[in-house]
Amino acid sequence: MSTAAITTRLGRELTAICGAEHVTEAPPEHILGCVPAVAVRPGSAEEIAAILRFANENKLVVAPAGGLSQQETGKAPAQIDILLYTSRLTETEHYDPGDLTVGIGAGCTVAHLCNDISKDGLLFAPDPPLWERATIGGLLATGITGPRRHGYGALRDYCIGVRFVTGDGRMGKGGGRVVKNVAGYDMMKLLIGSWGTLAIITGASFKLFPYPRNCRTFVACFPNTSEAMAYRDRVLRSPLDPMCLELLSPQASALLTPGSPADSFWTISARGAGSDAVLARFRSELGAAVAHEMEGEKEAAFWRMVANFPALARERDPDSLLMTLMAPLRDVRRVLEVTDEVAAANGFTLGAVGRVGHGNLFVSLSPAVGQQLTKANYATVMRILAEQLPQDSSLTVLHCPAEARGEIPMLRTPTHFASMHAVKQALDPKDILNRGRFLF
């Protein structure tokens, strides 16, 4: 909140829309070294539309922001005129515990929503990193979630409605508040994972789930990836339906659970929920590979740590190269082995966690102890990885050291590029939103 006098034309224009108390000129925060001219906290979708229309008329660059938990991703912006926070959009638009649905403003944090609905015995499935800070808008824009992805599906599977303002200042909507709905184009799908390049999300509706009762985590340890992957295949072929099925590399375990015996193994953790009979069945199907079980507080803390892996890896080692990959099931093992080899050959060590039952990995490459790496090392690693990435796989770089940022491609996707560009042109023709940072 600002107390300083507004001195610029931009500041005055934004003040006219949102009020002086919600406008900060030359704010202290920066995005990858780029200091925004003004930070603004609009109070409604209408105010956001007015800001974006003004930005269009003046060809300004707008960076949408939630809890700033994922702003290290993408290329460094050359210019940000307006850093637009959604933090005032926290209204509950609808909440019907009996219907298992909620609609909430984009600025609400994930933790706040989770706590609010837990009193009714309900679960909000997405478990992004830094959930205390991560907002609903940021969650959708980044599409980054955690280990519950295995049992509950992806954001695209349970986000049932979205309200937004397009880059050119139009107020749009997709879906609604009912769990089944095919009226109109599926705007949810377009905006999830679009990194704020198409529209500013102002609110969204979700399916909720009954809070799982009687959870248990079964941890199995393996000396290498191939044995771990063979076990994964066995679990996937079994009748079990775990909530989470997560791979941790030895380095990832060392980061998340230092001092535990898992530090020297590849582990696969399967999380089940249900009656004692159901858990007994998990035990018998998973068999002797299970080294230990976790429950209660310890278990909950473990899964929170796993969800936080991208944030912890970045914090532990700012020089790490952190990325998320999606690969077809069969290729997960190859991706892990190639990444390990390429990392080792170029002076990095590999840390990996991932929803291996869906082919979604988070990989951190840290400079090996004693290694002084140059930006060329990062570029080489990325080039080889991109070349060796299996068909149909895709990749997003979530973090890398500043000096390497300009040298490496931030995204690889099998999806037709010109079609994505056509979508960008349709919703943000003047390239107002996050210009130059992600796809375009």
Partner: protein, 479 residues
């Protein structure tokens, strides 16, 4: 370009035997499962993606409307072409191209019949989950266009949740790929966006779908109730117990009688409503859920709860549900199926409203629907020879859908907007919200050649065309 020239070109592309233009042949393609009819100028059966691309280029350069067609089972008029346009059925592109067990995917041509895909992979212990009631006939390509659902989408999700990649021919004839075999792809989710665009963005020529492993245990229950209210409250009670059944279907008393007289599934003739409930998964869990669901039914005053003892009994219970539309055909010369959705707690209220609407318009309306996700299918009986009654049918439909909107629901859960509900889109979305959607459609389908007059409401089309088209076919109906 003159239609006769277009037909000659179509024959060059797809072969003489792959083009129909005689009136008696064209008649077969003037309708789908919806209400309206329109006779195309030509029908062409492509045999491969390259032919689709060439046909698309031809239609675009001639500015002739073109619509892809699966089995024509759609209930919203999605497969109906403007008069004189080209209908492109995919019955000759009906091969399963690949079954990839390791990745749990199949790659199929759009003409593959939904149920045949599940049968094709059944020996591997796999199946394709979305199961529209028309699954014996409807095609995967049509399912992708309409984002179709079915009874089992309650647990597993609709078509979009099961498609990971598509090959699409764009209006300019370019063949493009969105997604692939991975569960998701970074970059814009074009696959997710594309599914459900009702043939207005491109034409699907291959689809990569998820295959699921058959569950270890499946149990099917029939809960019989004195009133729809009790049945509806049971739906909420099951949800509150933390159970998501694989399917949770409701039939009202009228439907129960119609079905039982048709196929003798063992449904009660004198009950107020019945719930057909299926649970699946781990054996231990399924057994517990059967007990919990039976208890919930009895607590909500169920007269009786039957649990299918074996596969034969289960098949019989489902036979009733899946042949319901056939049963209705015996009772009335025609019927109109609606597809509204309401928040699940509003089911009793909306059923009461449907009863009032039936009385007001002096119509018979039966209800058979996906209660678990609040997706209603009121079936309105009529005789299409009675023009006055037909008008009442349309008014009653709109009244029901408006009620769905008023309580926070939608006008379509799984059948699509098509031509029949596009004017109601203005009740659900603002002008500006529709304008955003139109700008996306125009980004791909600028000339409006692909499936015109579908999904988005009428006035918008006129404006988008930026003045009347010079083309005589596109110029009809105020375009």
């Amino acid at each position: 370009m003159d239609l006769s020239v277009v037909i000659r070109e179509l024959r060059k592309i797809a072969g003489d035997d792959a083009v129909l233009d005689r009136p008696e042949d064209l008649m077969l393609y003037e309708y789908d499962g919806g209400l309206r009819k329109s006779t195309p100028g030509a029908v062409v059966f492509p045999q491969n993606t390259q032919q689709v691309s060439a046909i698309m280029r031809l239609a675009s350069s001639a500015k002739i409307p073109i619509v892809a067609r699966g089995a024509g089972t759609g209930l919203s008029g999605g497969a109906i072409c403007k008069p004189g346009g080209i209908v492109m059925p995919f019955s000759r592109m009906n091969r399963v191209l690949e079954v990839d067990v390791e990745n749990m995917r199949a790659v199929v041509q759009p003409g593959v019949v939904n149920l045949q895909l599940s049968e094709y992979v059944s020996h591997l212990g796999l199946y394709y989950a979305p199961d529209p009631s028309s699954q014996k006939a409807c095609t995967i390509g049509g399912n992708v266009a309409e984002n179709s659902g079915g009874p089992h989408t309650l647990l597993h999700g609709v078509t979009v949740n099961h498609v990971t990649g598509v090959e699409v021919v764009m209006p300019d004839g370019e063949i493009v790929h969105f997604g692939g075999k991975a569960a998701e792809s970074y970059g814009y989710d074009m696959t997710g966006f594309y599914v459900g665009t009702e043939g207005t963005v491109g034409i699907t020529t291959a689809v990569t779908v998820k295959l699921l492993r058959k569950p270890e245990a499946v149990k099917t229950l029939l809960g019989i109730f004195e009133s729809v209210d009790d049945a509806a409250q049971t739906v909420s009670a099951i949800t509150a117990a933390g159970i998501t059944p694989a399917a949770l279907e409701m039939m009202d008393s009228w439907m129960l009688r119609a079905i039982e007289e048709y196929c003798h599934a063992g449904y009660p003739l004198d009950a107020g409503a019945a719930l057909l409930i299926e649970v699946e998964g781990l054996r231990e869990m399924v057994e517990e859920q059967v007990v919990a669901i039976s208890d919930a039914c009895l607590q909500k005053k169920a007269r009786e709860v039957r649990v299918a003892k074996d596969e034969e009994e289960r098949a019989l219970l489902w036979k009733g549900r899946k042949t319901a539309f056939g049963a209705v055909g015996r009772v009335a010369p025609s019927y109109y199926t609606q597809d509204g959705v309401v928040p699940r707690g509003k089911i009793p209220a909306v059923l009461a409203h449907i009863g009032d609407v039936a009385k007001k318009h002096n119509l018979i309306i039966g209800n058979i629907f996906h209660a678990g996700d609040g997706n209603l299918h009121p079936l309105i009986m009529f005789d299409e020879r009675d023009k006055a009654q037909f008008d009442h049918v349309l008014e009653a439909s709109e009244d029901i859908l408006q009620y769905c909107i008023d309580v926070g629901g939608s006008i379509t859960g799984e059948h699509g907007v098509g031509s029949e509900k596009r004017d109601m889109m203005t009740h659900l979305f603002t002008e500006e919200e529709l304008d955003v959607m139109a700008s996306l459609r125009n980004a791909f389908n600028r000339d409006g050649v692909l499936n015109p007059e579908k999904l988005l409401p009428a006035p918008r089309m006129c404006r988008e065309m930026k003045g009347p088209s010079r083309n005589p076919i596109l110029a009809q109906e105020g375009m």
